[in-house]
């Protein structure tokens, strides 16, 4: 099978920054500021009122636009399905014409960056795991569609004005992340990917989400390793989502994997940037010079739906 490589990692955050104290004071969190700090969060980013999720997506791609090359497909992922649509509800109400409800963010991205050869795929059913889902689908494209050699994966979410910025006890940032998956041997080779969906828990409560976290996270990691024919000892780093540090500590103990090699240093400054956490942390792993060529990095994510996804990468 044709190899796929992940490269050119970028992200963008909302313009406004708030500490956990400020957001707790403003009623944007359910938990107390002290609880969120204890969980590892310190600050988060919110979009300006006039900015959309698409604006964030644009900014994340802007940073890597010189690296895009000939993109054959765009996979545009959002956690909140409505963030993938820039339609105008008001115009629909006035005209009763549903075309105003079908203004697709991915199409705009294609146009705005002149990616004329790119087909556009929207991914809206995988919640926080969407970016990992995008990577997996990109790899499938490379393997099956000969003419597609580069895929732009984007994830973008911003919460509606007035929304709580806490989900399942995690502090949320508005943000977007992007990367390119191509057949060019650069960045990280995709070794394996795997996903689990438990639709019966589609509307899980926060406590059910927490309750299922360890069992399913453990399972997705083990199943992905098995799929790759690897052991956990073959993995140098685990890049998780930015969730309560105690959850990562517990999971590292369950896996018998050194917590020092769970790499998520951005939790303090960006909180849980929905589906972009893995990309933000992976980029930091590279920037910090932690990962060496040949080392394998395991990315995993749990999300509503309920979904779990995992991807194993190998540094070039």
């Amino acid at each position: 099978m044709k190899e796929a490589y992940v490269n050119h990692l970028s992200f963008a955050l909302g313009d406004r920054v708030a500490t956990v104290e400020e957001s707790a004071e403003s009623g944007r969190t359910l938990s107390r500021a002290a609880s969120l700090r204890e969980a590892g969060f310190r600050m988060h980013y919110l979009s300006a009122p006039e900015d959309t999720a698409y604006d964030l997506a644009r900014r994340s791609v802007e940073e890597i636009k010189k690296e895009l090359g000939e993109i054959g497909a765009i996979i545009y992922s959002t956690c909140i399905p409505a963030n993938g649509n820039v339609g105008d509800e008001k115009k629909f109400r006035e005209s009763r014409d549903v075309k105003y409800l079908m203004d697709f963010a991915g199409s705009h991205l294609q146009s705005d960056f002149g990616l004329e050869k790119a087909m556009v795929i929207g991914l809206t059913q995988q919640a926080c795991t969407g970016m990992l889902g995008a990577l997996r689908i990109a790899k499938m494209f490379l393997a099956t569609e000969g003419e597609i050699r580069r895929v732009l994966c984007v994830t973008a979410d911003r919460f509606p004005e007035g929304a709580l910025y806490e989900q399942a006890y995690n502090l949320i940032s508005d943000g977007a992340a992007a990367c390119v998956v191509s057949d060019e041997p650069e960045g990280f080779r995709m070794v394996a990917g795997h996903g689990i969906t438990n639709g019966a828990m589609a509307l899980a409560s926060d406590d059910e989400t927490v309750g299922s976290y360890f069992g399913y996270s453990h399972r997705i990691i083990q199943e992905t390793l098995a799929k790759a024919g690897l052991q956990l000892s073959d993995i140098a780093w685990i890049v998780p989502q930015n969730t309560n540090i105690k959850a990562s500590q517990i999971l590292s103990r369950l896996l018998k994997f050194d917590h020092e090699r769970f790499y998520y240093p951005t939790i303090e400054e960006v909180g849980h940037m929905i589906s972009g956490d893995n990309i933000v942390n992976l980029r930091r792993l590279v920037e910090d010079g932690k990962v060496r060529p040949g080392e394998r990095v395991l990315l995993f994510m749990a999300g509503y739906g309920l979904n779990w996804q995992c991807v194993i990468l190998e540094k070039r």
Binding site: S31, S35, M201, D207, G211, G215, H218, K246, Q249, L254
Partner: protein, 369 residues
């Protein structure tokens, strides 16, 4: 008719009331039930509940009230009217704090022992304890006095050991018996549950998919009994067995389940329900004690939901789930003519079924199958 009475402290508690009921059914004795109350109104309410629970036999029941942390909680009791004392009053939560455990369970016991010393016609003093007063000691747990060298998983265990020790060292002249009771998981072998504890809280978390970790080792034996077995055994032992003896109101390791078997059985039973099967709740992962403590700290950070309450109630017991105890019950078996251990698998299945059917006691209209 005999006028002297059997005093049961914690007379409105689970085992206290079960023993009262058993005694009324099988004897002509008069009972004096002592209950914890802060004021006459609370006492009146508890007294009414006791009378409702004991039914027609209640005319042989007298009630008194007090609080074990007060200087003289038994000052309304005439020592000359007491022939037997059964001390079942205690704080039995695993997460009890040290001060409360000491004041209620240890110092409270001491106050009762002082009363017992003044009873001129006392025939028996029965201290209800727990098999976990052995603390973190592994290996054979004999029906004899124990030291505290292995330490304890929580202050509840420590306080029960300290109460036993107090009796055995400072009040050894009393006609004492110690009954170390295992974990009561159901009223009877049919699985009816009217009193819930950390065991039931944990099963609830599993059923609702709220807990994907369990501290412990799969091979750790767990000692479960029914309330009916406990009441019948203690009742028999009070009247027929040797004074100055310790009895384990428990079944042996061979007659009990291991933690791993329990979890498998629970999920097997839950899995027979389509609504559970559909949700694809995974069996919990076995964790070390530190991981479970981290989980308890984590959920404690975020408020007072069911997850926090339940995890907090289990966490102080977690160390026990790593200890391979071999609880012995030779004294018990030799004293009871009709000793019989239940089918542990059937008991657990029935209890799970009852809990699910009644939604952990919230829908008692479904109690009958």
């Amino acid at each position: 008719m005999e006028t002297r009475k059997i005093l049961i402290t914690g007379g409105d508690g689970y085992l206290g009331l079960a023993l009262a009921k058993r005694t009324l059914q099988s004897t002509e004795e008069n009972l004096l039930l002592w209950v914890r109350a802060s004021d006459p109104e609370e006492f009146a309410a508890k007294q009414e509940r006791i009378r409702q629970r004991l039914g027609v036999e209640a005319d042989r029941v007298f009630c008194r009230w007090g609080n074990l942390v007060n200087p003289d909680p038994f000052d309304t009791i005439d020592p000359a009217e007491i022939k037997v004392i059964i001390h079942s009053a205690a704080v039995t939560r695993f997460n009890v704090d040290e001060t409360t455990a000491r004041r209620v369970n240890v110092e409270g016991t001491e106050k009762l022992l002082r009363l017992a010393s003044q009873c001129p016609f006392l025939e028996r003093f029965a201290l209800l304890s727990t098999v976990y007063s052995s603390g973190l000691k592994p290996g054979p747990i004999e029906e004899e006095a124990m030291d505290n060298r292995a330490g304890f998983a929580n202050y509840y265990e420590w306080s029960k050991w300290a109460s036993e020790n107090l009796l055995l060292t400072e009040f050894a002249d009393l006609p004492w018996q110690i009954f170390r009771v295992a974990t009561v998981i159901a009223d009877n072998e049919e699985g009816t549950v009217t009193q819930q504890n950390a065991f039931h809280n944990t099963l609830k978390l599993f059923y609702y998919g709220l807990l994907s970790l369990i501290p412990g080792k799969t091979e750790t034996p767990l000692y479960f009994i029914t309330g009916e077995f406990a009441a019948n055994a203690i009742f028999s032992l009070l009247s027929t067995s040797l004074k100055k003896s310790i009895y384990h109101i428990a079944h042996t390791k061979e007659e009990s389940l291991s933690l791993g078997t329990l979890i498998d059985l629970v999920f097997e039973t839950y899995g027979e329900r389509p609504e559970f099967k559909m949700r694809r709740v995974l069996k919990p992962l076995y964790s070390d004690a530190e991981s479970f403590d981290l989980l308890a700290q984590g959920v404690n950070t975020f408020g007072a939901g069911i997850l926090n309450q339940s995890v907090s109630s289990v966490a102080p017991f977690s160390k026990q789930l790593f200890i391979q105890k071999e609880v012995q019950n030779r004294n018990l078996v030799s004293a009871l003519d009709d000793y019989q251990a239940p089918d542990a698998r059937r008991l657990v299945r029935n209890a799970c079924d009852y809990l699910v059917r009644t939604k952990w006691g919230r829908e008692l209209q479904h109690a009958s199958r």
